[in-house]
Amino acid sequence: MIRLAVISGKGGTGKTMVTAALARLLKGTLVLADCDVDAANLALVTSPHLLSTTPFMGMKSALIDPAACVKCAECEAYCRFKAVDWLGNVFRINPFRCEGCAVCTFVCPVKAITLQPRQTGEILYSETARGHLVHARLVPGAGNSGLLVHAVKKMAMEQDRTCDLFLIDGPPGTGCPLISTISGVDAVLVVTEPSVSGVHDLKRVVTVSRQFRPRIIVAINRFDLNISQTKEIEAWCREENIPLLGKIPFDPAVIEAVRAGIPVTDVGASPAAQAIQILAAKLEVELTNLDNNR
């Protein structure tokens, strides 16, 4: 199984649109995972049929038993996350701030605090026209998205271990969910855009990715919106010896496809669809080489 994650650094460059189209175009059996668990959108363009849901338990959270609490304020003094609120007559844990470290349970002299399991999301296992999709819903505002990403990947690999390709729609950024997404993958496809922000974020996410040693591949979306920035990305990729496998033009057909809930390559011939077909063909070669060199 080849594991390929589509990432971007900057948000909104078109990761999900590219992932959905690649799922259509790349050959072989595949399993899809949406690791942008904060704002999971791959399901909106892959028409999934839900097969099962599994609760996701995040980090535990502290709970103070008001009947046992002697209001000594030790927990408040030791909590480094400022998660203990004094409400005038009672101490209470703020669940948004609590990181489940258990320090309060240790310092409480009357053992009035316990750690409680909490469900912070659910993992969804669905069927699509191109194979199974593992996605998730994180309770808005809940932490531990990196853990949830790990759980999503694990389920995809366990359920569909015989697939040729494990295709991941990744999160933006470079922090915990991104690191969790790219750890253990064979290749990352960075979808960038020709803007000062796109270029800056591309460089950062490539630096982070290199620490995990996958094959790094770049594609530029909406490349025609700023040709001079596109040229800068091309030059940078040459310098860094990173293959630039695709340049997708700005195309209103993309928004129309998203509104219709399908990949742009399903709509019919359009400039964006053609460019993605070329990208997919080149990627196919790249992934075959990766597989052969293992």
């Binding site: 650094g9 900057k10 948000g11 909104g12 460059t13 999900t16 942008d36 904060d38 704002a39 959108n41 909106l44 535990k60 030791y78 480094r80 996350f81 948004f96 990181e99 470290c101 258990a102 320090v103 240790f106 310092v107 750690l115 994180l138 808005p140 505002g141 809940a142 932490g143 531990n144 998205s145 990196g146 933006p172 950024g173 470079t174 922090g175 915990c176 969910p177 991104l178 690191i179 855009e193 020709p194 803007s195 000062v196 922000s197 796109g198 800056h200 950062r204 996410v205 630096t207 982070v208 620490q211 919106l225 700023n226 001079s228 920035q229 209103p252 928004i255 998203v258 509104r259 809930g261």
Partner: protein, 283 residues
Amino acid sequence: MKLAVASGKGGTGKSMVAANIAYALSQTGPVTLIDCDVEEPDLHLFFPAPSTTCDVTVRVPVVDESACDHCGKCGAFCQYGALTVLPDRILFFPELCHSCGGCTLVCPKYAIREEPRRIGMLGISAPLPTLTLITGTLDEGSPHAVPVIKEAKTQALGGHVVIIDTAPGTSCPVVEALDGCDACILVTESTPFGLHDLQLAADVAARLGVPAGIVINRSDGKDGETLRFCIDHDLEVMLTIPFDREIAAIQSRGDLLCRERPEWQKDFSALYAKCRALAGVDT
């Protein structure tokens, strides 16, 4: 007044909105702009200026091996699996550590102390006489965005208007950035992706008790579903910015809409006034 700009979905134009409000307001008074999208901070690209920097550190444990008898209490206590105690040594995984200090408390031999470990940095600059820009940057490869966001927010100057640009998404970095804000703008685009993620972001703001208003960006006129959602959830659409190749070009080369097309300044000033009303601040 502390105003955050958030979105759920990435790339909807948070930084553009934050930068232009800050620029418009800086024409009439002091403004502090804080980049809390520490994984990919981009505001400095729109306000190039020399900056002073300082490290952001977190506390991590250091075990005094001569005092440690490998009893294993620290490893058993750590909820994050950051310490593994072997018969002859201790393995520490800094990327898993949340700096809670628990291991130092449970060690019966007092063999664990803490020392600072760098995870990112702050940059402070004054691109305009009335504008202070504070940029939080997470080191590449470090997973812990939250402490950098916290640190960046503490640098906000009292009495100033503070505009905070947040990360995309709906989890810890966004919660940390929104915490304590008087109001927030949710920037969206009229696609099913934009709307889906707007719903999540609005949910986070509501849970945190931060009043929210909407900016629709890159509108192609087909905003019906977004408008319906906003009406149903009593969210005011405070500004609609049309899709326009020229605006996209200004943004992509790192310029500011309000500087290149000054007629937009009144729109962003009016947007800020609406946010004040939203927060219940009337002057």
